[in-house]
């Protein structure tokens, strides 16, 4: 019997306290413990992080790049959501 392919995990690393975890890459491992150990070896050989998250790749739902127009265009047209849309007289000073 052929062994099924080893599951894929996405790796996120917090490089220092105060910063968010950032996606750094992926790896294969059979379970969460092994994924965490592999992430340590593959992605933090030079002190790149203080904290690691591993997430099964199958748990991620991604938006479809082909639909990015429909997805993100509505935000583009709402310029009144930006502070520069509003006029404040200079005398009022920085706001």
């Amino acid at each position: 019997m052929a062994t099924p392919n080893t599951p894929l995990w996405e790796v996120f690393i917090r490089s220092r306290n105060g910063l968010a975890h950032k996606h750094v890459g992926s790896l294969h491992a059979n379970d969460a413990t092994m994924a965490l150990q592999a992430a340590r070896d593959i992605y933090t050989r030079r002190g790149e992080g203080l904290s690691i998250w591993v997430v099964p790749s199958t748990a991620i739902t991604a938006s479809d790049p082909a639909e990015k127009g429909m997805m993100f265009e509505p935000a583009e047209s709402k310029i009144y959501r930006h502070p520069t849309f509003y006029e404040v007289p200079e005398e009022v000073g920085h706001m």
Binding site: T3, P4, N5, T6, L8, E10, G25, S26, L27, H28, A29, N30, D31, M34, D41, I42, R45, R46, S57, T58, I60, A62, D64, P65, A66
Partner: protein, 330 residues
């Protein structure tokens, strides 16, 4: 995340819709946009990248063998620790690259099987033997030096995951070259015998290293489309010349002689090297280099001997998952 949710590889479908998408794709490339895994891409782009990235990954993994040969015989503990770290890095580079290749839709298992079956290529340079400790210095200095020259432009490759993997790799590669040069410097400042050992290693590695940049521009079969798609930013000959120009002064500093009596410096300061023996390159690629059979045999042995570990890990994970489901059902 990309392998599970990828677009299936397109058959060679000439529908109008595809022509429109292809035009859109070319426009994105021209505008220096990065292509990401779930974006539409021509089947040939997917294929050429899968080939290139997986060959690159195989090279990193097979590349562990010639240096691994000297870990237990490194002359000092300092050298041994550095060499171990370097070989571990090569393994890491292989893994980043397999992950990047997988985003194009071929699993790591399939890629590795192709390499073990002798169907996929890896860099010709790793089919040469490491006969003395000076070879370890020369590999770091020249082989990693040539790899850096080749990889820096790849950090701007049009395919996002490959470019990101290359950025990581380049950051780590600089230590490799410096540790190699330091080994050479120590040998060249040592006894006459040690310096002769350094010269001998340079003599053996020089020409194979120049071949690492691939066939001359006039005969390279993949260059045109790769350049058009911005996978490749410089031609083989341009990179080779850059490497030679950077390396000659480093050899002079060591007091070593480049084994090319015909080499001259032209008026623009470029070092012009003699004709490369491309028959040797073709022979090595065809499987007839000094160590081709050993390298594949070593990879197969490692793969076979590791089978029980992969099976045990999969069985343990399956058992735990089964227990969780049983508990949840109670």
């Amino acid at each position: 995340m990309y392998t599970q949710a990828l677009n299936t590889a397109e058959a060679d479908d000439r529908s109008l819709e595809d022509a429109a998408r292809a035009a859109q794709f070319e426009a994105r490339i021209d505008a220096e946009e990065r292509i990401e895994p779930n974006d539409w891409m021509p089947a040939a782009y997917r294929k050429t990248l899968t080939r290139q990235i997986s060959q690159h990954a195989h090279s990193e993994i097979v590349g562990m063998l010639p240096e691994g040969n000297w870990i237990t015989r490194a002359p000092t503990l300092r050298r041994k620790a550095a060499l171990l770290a370097k070989v571990q890095d090569e393994c890491g580079h292989g893994l980043y690259l397999y992950a990047a290749a997988e985003t194009l839709g071929t699993s790591r298992e399939e890629l590795i099987d192709a390499m073990l079956a002798g169907k996929a290529k890896y860099s010709s340079i790793f089919n040469y033997p490491t006969l003395t400790w000076a070879d370890i210095g020369t590999i770091g200095w020249l082989v990693d030096g040539a790899a850096i020259m080749n990889q820096i432009p790849l950090c701007r490759c049009s395919y996002g995951p490959y470019a990101r993997a290359m950025i990581r790799v380049c950051k780590e590669e600089s230590f490799h070259q410096r540790q190699g040069y330091e080994i050479m410097l120590t040998l060249c400042r040592g006894s006459d015998e040690q310096k002769a050992m350094g010269q001998d290693a340079l003599n053996r590695w020089w020409w194979p290293v120049l071949m690492m940049f691939g066939p001359p521009d006039a005969t390279s079969q993949h260059s045109d489309t790769s350049t058009k798609w911005k996978i490749k930013r410089f031609s083989n000959d341009e990179l080779r010349q850059k490497f030679v120009d950077a390396t000659v002064p480093q050899a002079q500093y060591l007091g070593l002689t480049i084994p090319d009596p015909g080499m001259i410096q032209d008026d623009d300061g470029h070092w012009r090297y003699s004709e490369i023996d491309w028959t040797e390159f073709k022979q090595v690629l065809a499987g007839n280099g000094p160590c081709n059979r050993d390298r594949i045999a070593a990879r197969r042995k490692a793969h076979d001997e590791g089978a029980w570990v992969r099976e045990a890990a999969a069985a343990y994970a399956a058992k735990r998952a089964h227990r969780r489901t049983a508990r949840a059902a109670e």
